[in-house]
C-alpha cells in the first residue's frame, strides 16, 4: 500500500514536470509573448532604402520617353560629414545621385547631381539609352523623401532634356543592393566644403582628397577620359577632359587622388565607364566648394 502511494506521488511529480516543460516550450512559441510589437522604420542614421514613384517629363528634344509614373527604388547613404550618395532604378531608368545634405536623413534637404540612364525612343522608333545629368533638390521628412530635377540634359541624345519628380517612403534603414551592378562611391575626404590651407607646391590654396570606392565587388573599367568642371572665383564655368590616368579598378577596392586650387570657387569631377557585367555607370564628386 505504502509502495503504491509512493509510486503514485512519483507519477504525479513526473507529470507535473512534463507539463511544465511543455508549457515552457509553448510559451516560447506564443506570438503573444514576443518582446514588443515590431517597431516602425526609423530614418535618421546613416542610410535608408526608399520605395515610391518617379515621373519624367520631356522638356525638349526629338525623343520620346515614358512620362507615366514608374515604381521607384532608391538607396541612399550618408557619407563623410554631409555627403550623400544614392542609387536608384525604375522601370525605364536607373542612375545615381551624389550631393550634399543639410540636416539629416530624418529632417533635411539635399542638393545633388543626378546621373540617369533613361530608355528613350527616337522619332523613327529606335530605342536608345540616353545618359543624362542634372541637378536635383530634395527634402527628407521623417520617412518621406521627395525630389525634383528641373533640367536633365542628355549628352548622347542631342537636344533631349527632361524634368523629374520623385516621392518615396523609407522601408528600411539598410540600403538595398542592385544585383549585378557595380557601385562606385565618390566622396570628398573631410567634406565637400574645403577650407584654405596649403597646396603641395607650397602656396596657399584649397587642398582636398577625392576617394573613389567600388563597394559591390564588381570590377570596373573607366572610360579613357574624365570631366572636370570648375568655377574660378565662382565665375564662369570652365571644363576640361583630361585622360583617365588609370582605367581598371578591382571590385571592392578604393583609390584616391588629390587636388588643390589656389583660388576660391567650385570643383566637380565626373567619371564614367562600364562594370564587368557590361553595365554602364556615371558618377561624380559632390560639388566641392572652396570657402572664400
Amino acid at each position: 500500500m505504502g509502495t503504491n502511494i509512493a509510486s503514485s506521488a512519483q507519477t504525479v511529480a513526473l507529470r507535473l514536470a512534463l507539463a511544465a516543460a511543455v508549457m515552457t516550450g509553448a510559451t516560447a512559441c506564443s506570438p503573444g509573448t514576443l518582446p514588443g510589437a515590431p517597431s516602425s522604420i526609423l530614418v535618421g542614421g546613416g542610410a535608408g532604402r526608399y520605395n515610391g514613384a518617379i515621373t519624367y517629363r520631356r522638356v525638349g528634344g526629338a525623343f520620346t520617353i515614358s512620362e507615366g509614373s514608374q515604381t521607384f527604388n532608391l538607396s541612399m547613404v550618408l557619407r563623410q560629414v554631409d555627403q550623400i550618395t544614392g542609387r536608384f532604378e525604375s522601370a525605364e531608368s536607373s542612375g545615381s545621385v551624389q550631393g550634399v545634405l543639410t540636416g539629416d536623413l530624418a529632417a533635411g534637404s539635399f542638393l545633388a547631381t543626378i546621373f540617369v540612364a533613361t530608355q528613350a525612343r527616337q522619332a523613327n522608333g529606335t530605342a536608345v539609352t540616353c545618359e543624362g545629368r542634372g541637378q536635383v533638390t530634395g527634402t527628407l521628412s521623417g520617412r518621406n523623401m521627395s525630389w525634383t530635377a528641373s533640367s536633365i540634359t542628355y549628352d548622347n541624345c542631342p537636344g533631349l532634356s527632361a524634368s523629374s519628380a520623385a516621392q518615396a517612403v523609407a522601408v528600411s534603414p539598410v540600403p538595398g543592393d542592385f544585383a549585378g551592378r557595380a557601385s562606385m562611391i565618390i566622396t570628398i575626404v573631410g567634406g565637400a566644403t574645403v577650407l584654405r590651407t596649403t597646396c603641395p607646391s607650397g602656396g596657399a590654396g584649397y587642398r582636398f582628397t577625392v576617394d573613389m570606392a567600388e563597394t559591390t565587388g564588381i570590377d570596373v573599367t573607366f572610360d579613357s577620359s574624365f570631366l572636370i568642371e570648375e568655377r574660378r572665383n565662382f565665375g564662369a564655368l570652365t571644363s576640361s577632359t583630361p585622360d583617365m590616368p588609370f582605367r581598371e579598378m578591382k571590385g571592392g577596392t578604393r583609390r584616391s587622388y588629390e587636388a588643390c586650387s589656389a583660388t576660391p570657387g567650385t570643383y566637380q569631377a565626373f567619371f564614367s565607364g562600364s562594370d564587368a557585367n557590361g553595365n554602364r555607370f556615371r558618377v561624380g564628386t559632390p560639388l566641392v566648394t572652396f570657402a572664400p
Partner: protein, 220 residues
C-alpha cells in the same frame, strides 16, 4: 662620400705593390661582383620619344650584385641583379590623347637582370687593364609615381610606375637594359679587381661606375 671612397680605393689599387705573377689566378674561375653608379641619367631629348613623353629627366643611383667567371689578368663575364632607383626629382611629361600628364617619381625603381662581358684590349703595367664593358638585360618598372594635371586646380594621382604611360595608351612593365662602357680595371692583391667605367647605360648614361670583382678560384 661614395665617390670619394671609390676614388681612394682606385688610387690604392694603382699604388699597391706588385705581386708575383704565379700567385694570381690565371685559370678561369668563378667569382662574385658588386658595383655602384652614383648617378645615371636619361638624356631627355634622346629617349623621350620612346616613352611617348614630351620631356624626360630621370636620374638616380644604380647598384649591382652578381656572379662572374674570368681570370685576374684577362676578361670576365657575369650575371648581375640590377637595381636602379629613381631620384624623387625625376620627372617626365607623358603625352596623352587629351592632355599632358606630368609625372614625378615618388618611390619608383627598376629591378632587373643583366649579363655583361668585360673585354680588355690594352694593359698598363702588370695590374691595370683598359677595355670595354658590354652588357644587356631586362628590368621591371616598380614602385609609384605621382601624375599631375594642371588646371585651375591641380589634380594629382598616385600611380603604379607602369601606369604612368597608360594615358598614352601604353603600359610599360619591362624595359631593356644595355651597357657599353669604357673601363679601366686594376688588380688589387691576388683576387680582387676594381673596375672604373663610364658611358652608355640604358636607359641612360653614367659618368662613372665602380665595380668590384672577387675571384674564388685556386691559386696556381
Amino acid at each position: 662620400m661614395s665617390k670619394r671612397c671609390a676614388a681612394a680605393f682606385f688610387l690604392a689599387a694603382l699604388l699597391v705593390s706588385p705581386t708575383a705573377a704565379q700567385a694570381q689566378i690565371d685559370d678561369t674561375s668563378w667569382g662574385i661582383t658588386a658595383g655602384v653608379s652614383p648617378q645615371w641619367t636619361v638624356p631627355g631629348s634622346l629617349l623621350a620619344g620612346l616613352f611617348d613623353a614630351q620631356t624626360l629627366d630621370v636620374k638616380g643611383p644604380e647598384f649591382r650584385i652578381g656572379v662572374i667567371r674570368g681570370t685576374t689578368l684577362g676578361g670576365e663575364w657575369g650575371v648581375s641583379l640590377i637595381h636602379k632607383r629613381l631620384a624623387k626629382t625625376s620627372t617626365l611629361e607623358v603625352d596623352g590623347t587629351n592632355s599632358v600628364l606630368s609625372v614625378v617619381a615618388q618611390d619608383a625603381e627598376l629591378i632587373g637582370v643583366e649579363v655583361h662581358r668585360f673585354f680588355p684590349f690594352a694593359r698598363a703595367g702588370t695590374h691595370v687593364q683598359i677595355g670595354v664593358n658590354l652588357g644587356g638585360g631586362v628590368a621591371q618598372l616598380r614602385g609609384f609615381v605621382t601624375g599631375t594635371y594642371q588646371g585651375t586646380a591641380t589634380t594629382s594621382f598616385t600611380l603604379p610606375f607602369p601606369d604612368a604611360f597608360a594615358v598614352a595608351g601604353r603600359e610599360i612593365d619591362w624595359i631593356p637594359l644595355g651597357r657599353a662602357e669604357l673601363a679601366a680595371a686594376a688588380l688589387v692583391g691576388e683576387r680582387l679587381k676594381v673596375r672604373i667605367s663610364g658611358g652608355f647605360n640604358m636607359p641612360g648614361i653614367q659618368v662613372v661606375s665602380v665595380s668590384f670583382s672577387y675571384l674564388l678560384g685556386q691559386d696556381r
